[in-house]
Structures are given as structure tokens and as C-alpha cells.
Amino acid sequence: MHQIGVKSLFIVCLVIILVGAILVLQTADQFEKFGAKSFVARMICIAIIRELGPLMTAIVLSGRVGAAFTAGLGSMVINEEVLALKTMGINPVGYLVAPRFIAICIMLPCLTAYAYLLGNVGGYLVGTSMYNIPPSEYLNGVYKSLKSVEIIAGLVKSMIFGAIICMVACYNALTVRGGPEGVGRNTMISVVNSLVAIIIADALFTAALAKRIYGV
């Protein structure tokens, strides 16, 4: 949990602050043209809570943690450590995969919660300093956009992303063939496959629950 959560916190925070800031930079001008600058905060908050918070956190973790899972477990496979566990009658899935699965499914929603906060902080900093949106107006816009059901849906979604990252990474680790070269190859495959799987899962989740949760 320390490796997955605490050690990923800085990079997740950095990425999501910048994403919030970039969103404001890209959209505030357009909103201003229509005289709707006050809606910037709402748009950023909705985007972060519904989509970008869980998604960007999952993308960062698939690169940082998913790759580490595949490389670490894959090295154990080629060093015969996994075979040694099997011959000791210890199920490698239960012993090596299950703790990682539980850890990432707990830590990814925790990191997503930080992403919710810091994505909006990034938007707030740019919105108030560069586009002269009054702080109280920005915060009021954020407050009006927050819906508990959407926050919970995002956290559940991030838990699903965590499960996907772990399953894809560990599958690619435990099926490594061909020595160290195979570990490198499977690590790359693991990251690419988990990114694709996360996006597909996100699309399915949103399509299935959009009307019920988001009312669209």
C-alpha cells in the first residue's frame, strides 16, 4: 500500500493539478466569449469528478504500478521464485497477486480522492489568477457541481480500474517467457493493454450508468 499509494501520491497530484490548470487554460477563453466565465468552475469540477480524476489517476498508476507489478513478478518467474513457491505448495496467485490486488483496489480510490481535490485546485489557481474569476465565485461553482453520487461513482470506477491494472499486470507477469527480454516485452504489453482496458471499461461504465448517475 505504501508503494502504491504514498509513493504515487506526488506524481498523481502533479499530473492532476496540471490537468485542472490546462482545462481552464483551454476553455476559459471560449466561455468568456459567450459571457459564461462563471461556468468554468462547474465545468472543470464536473470533468474532474466524473472523468479525469479517476481516469488520469488510473493512467498514472498503470504506468507506475502496473509496470512495476509486471517487471517485479516477471523477474520472480524467470528467477524460478514463482516455481519455488509452487513446489512449496504455496499458490503464487494467492501469495503474490492477492495482496497486490487488494492494495491497488484500496489505494486507487484514495489517490482519486486526492485527484478530485487537486484537480480543482489547479483549475482554481489558473482561473482566479489568469482569468480574474473571483475566488468566491469559483468556489461557489465547484460547490454547486459536487454531487455525492457522482463522487462515489468515480471512486467505484477507480476501484474497477485498479482491479484491471492488477489483473492485466499480474497476468502478463506470470506468463513471462524468454528470460529478461521477455520481462521487458511483457511489461510494455502490460502497460499498453491496461491502458486500453481502462479506456474500454470507462466507456462501458459511462454508457451503462450515464443516465442513472449523471442524468444525461
Binding site: N79, E81, L83, T87, M88, G89, I90, R177, G178, G182
Partner: protein, 265 residues
């Protein structure tokens, strides 16, 4: 009754539509309390045979029995029961790098017995003492030498006092002194605990120190099964070349090695 019975074992690997027969009708017995050395050139099928004998790879055909119980085509519960009867020392030692030497040895004890923590600690110390590694109990595998890693792996392999210990190239990557230490440990386990040892090796000095019986493989077939004297006095030119350590003719035998290694690793 022999403690290990191998009967007509065949193993075929298939990759990209290409089939390679690595073991071809292997049959032999290992008696209780003896040390069998499995010899052969690279790609001869030694490591594959070992992996079949420990249940890591099912044979394409044939049967392997350990202490009277088949390990081929059985469910996980029966396989787990069979695994309690043997320990394995892998070529690299295969210690879990995130754990200390002591924790590695404690792993199978803690997993398979309901002993209290202090009892496990005493058992670990006894096993490490047996392999002369008690001083390294709190060190990580990365902090000790290759020979010490092998001895730690051996302590873990005998942690549950199995009837049989399998060794995959125990002297690989070791200097002559460390190799001799491992050989002495193999003999000590046989003499003091009555363990049966099955050793895959290609080091003739080790074979001469530890073997009661030898089994020589060539291209997946048994070309000699007998005593050390049978090996040394064999008129077969291939066996003589191997005994004398000559490489002529052995390169071609290794043709399947990388193919099989790819499949096994």
C-alpha cells in the same frame, strides 16, 4: 519399493506449430536414501526431466510416482500432499529477494504447519545451522554470495524434512570450494537424515563425490543407468567424452536448448 518411480515418460514441447521431443521414453527408479545424479550435455533433457519429476510440467505420456503416489494428472490437493514429500533446490537458489534468509526458510514451515512463531524460529535456526548459515539469518539474499544463496535455498528445501530433495545444477555459477561445500551438504543430508537426493548436474567432480547411481541422458533418451563405476567404465564414446570433459560432438546436442529454455522460463 523405490521412493521415485519414473515410467515411460515422454515430453513434447510445441511452439509456433513446431514440435520438439525433449524426453523420449524415460524409465528408472530411485531407491530410498540413495543419491542419483542425472547427467547429460546441454539440451539433453536433464532440467525438463527434473521439472516433470517435481510436477512443474506434466509429461506428455508416462507416469511419475513419489513414495507410491502418482503426481501425474492429479488434482491440486493430491499434488500438494505429494509436494510435502520433496524439496527442491533451484539453480539460482530461487530465494524471495524481499525476505531475509531466515524468513525464506520460515516460509514453508509457517505455511504448512501450525507452529507458534518462536517454534518456527527455532526450526529455522536448526535448518540454517545444518547448512552452516546461521550467521546469515537476518541478511537479504542480495547481501550474500551465490554459494550462500544455494545453501539458504537448501535450508528452505529441507525445512519440512522431506523424503526427497531435488537439486537443479547445484554447482552452477559456484567456485570449486563452494561446489565442494554443496556436495558435502548433499552427502551429509543423506547420511544423517536418510534423505534421497536427485541431482541434475554436468560437473563430473561432483558426480564422483556424491553419486550412488547415475542416469545419463542424450537427446531425451537414457543412454546409461547404473553405478558410478558403470559410468566410468562405459565403452560408449559419448559417455567417455562426457566423463573426460571433452566438448567435441556436444554442441549439436544443445540445438534444442534455447527453444526449450524459452518454453520453460
Amino acid at each position: 519399493m523405490a521412493i521415485i518411480e519414473v515410467r515411460d515418460v515422454h515430453k513434447v514441447f510445441e511452439k509456433d506449430g513446431k514440435k520438439v521431443k525433449v524426453l523420449n521414453g524415460i524409465s528408472f527408479d530411485v531407491e530410498r536414501g540413495e543419491t542419483l545424479c542425472i547427467l547429460g550435455g546441454s539440451g539433453g533433457g536433464k532440467s525438463t526431466l527434473l521439472k516433470v519429476m517435481i510436477g512443474a510440467h506434466p509429461p506428455t505420456q508416462g507416469d511419475v510416482r513419489i513414495d507410491g503416489e502418482s503426481i501425474v494428472g492429479v488434482d491440486e490437493k493430491k499434488m500438494d500432499a505429494a509436494r510435502r514429500k520433496f524439496g527442491v533446490l533451484f539453480q539460482s537458489g530461487a530465494l524471495l529477494n524481499s525476505m531475509t534468509v531466515g524468513e525464506n526458510v520460515a516460509l514453508p514451515i509457517g505455511f504448512h504447519t501450525k507452529q507458534a512463531a518462536d517454534t518456527i524460529e527455532i526450526m529455522v535456526k536448526i535448518k540454517l545451522e545444518q547448512v552452516g548459515l546461521l550467521a546469515a539469518i537476518d541478511r537479504l539474499p542480495s547481501e550474500i554470495s551465490g554459494g550462500m544463496q544455494k545453501r539458504a535455498g537448501l535450508a528452505r528445501a529441507i525445512a519440512l524434512e522431506p523424503k526427497v530433495v531435488f537439486y537443479d545444477e547445484p554447482s552452477a555459477g559456484l567456485d570449486p570450494i563452494a561446489t565442494t561445500q554443496i556436495d558435502e551438504l548433499i552427502n551429509k543430508l543423506k547420511d544423517t537424515m536418510g534423505m534421497t537426493n536427485v541431482v541434475v548436474t554436468h560437473v563430473m567432480e561432483s558426480v564422483q563425490r556424491i553419486a550412488d547411481k547415475v542416469l545419463m541422458l542424450d537427446k531425451g533418451k537414457v543412454i546409461l543407468y547404473g553405478t558410478l563405476d558403470d559410468l566410468l567404465s562405459s565403452p560408449d564414446p559419448k559417455i567417455q567424452r562426457f566423463v573426460r570433459g571433452e566438448t567435441e560432438g556436444l554442441a549439436a546436442e544443445g540445438a534444442n536448448e534455447s527453444f526449450v529454455r524459452d518454453l520453460l522460463m
